[in-house]
Amino acid sequence: MANGSATSGAVALPRSWVPVVALAWLVPGGGHFLLKRYGRGGLLLLSVASMFLLGLMMRGPMFHPQGGDLLTVIIYYGGFLGDLASGLLYLLSVWLGYSQPDVAGHVHDYGAKFLVAAGLLNILAMVDAWEIATGKKN
């Protein structure tokens, strides 16, 4: 396991990157908060949460894993992973009963894309937090 003490910055880093990445998944920007990068963490939280909430307000449907031909598998499993990558935002919305059927309309369509894109942006934030925690980046 990589050690997070390799940076030359004045801020003390956690010994392991695992809690950083786990928190970054659960709470967008959480990994940055744990690493005391409050400004960047706040902006990540604002962006990812706004995107996810806009997706919910547009009544975008969540993707569920679905079998079939290769393209269907890629789209539905990929979409599900994208939704799941939003962490607590996704888990809470599902636990609280959000279940939007896939209906026609450009607003619903954009909503689904916003929900997935929020997760994909959170993956970028997780990678950034991992790079900071392992000393590859300040």
């Binding site: 962006s47 990812v48 307000m57």
Partner: protein, 61 residues
């Protein structure tokens, strides 16, 4: 939760704003470069939005 109804342009612009912020934050090593890269990404998004919009409009006949 209120229901939001947006046009294609508004949705794409919102997408561009939040994506550009994240891309700017995770891509560069200092705040000045992050700001510049974020703004550049946003500009690319908007240019692509208009270009693809016009291409679809003209291609549709």
């Amino acid at each position: 939760m209120p229901k939001l109804s947006v046009s294609h342009f508004e949705a794409a612009l919102l997408f561009a704003i939040f994506s550009s912020i994240v891309l700017g934050i995770v891509s560069k090593k200092n705040d000045r470069d992050r700001l510049r890269y974020g703004l550049r990404c946003f500009a690319y998004f908007v240019v692509a939005l208009f270009a693809v919009g016009w291409a679809m409009y003209l291609g549709h006949g």
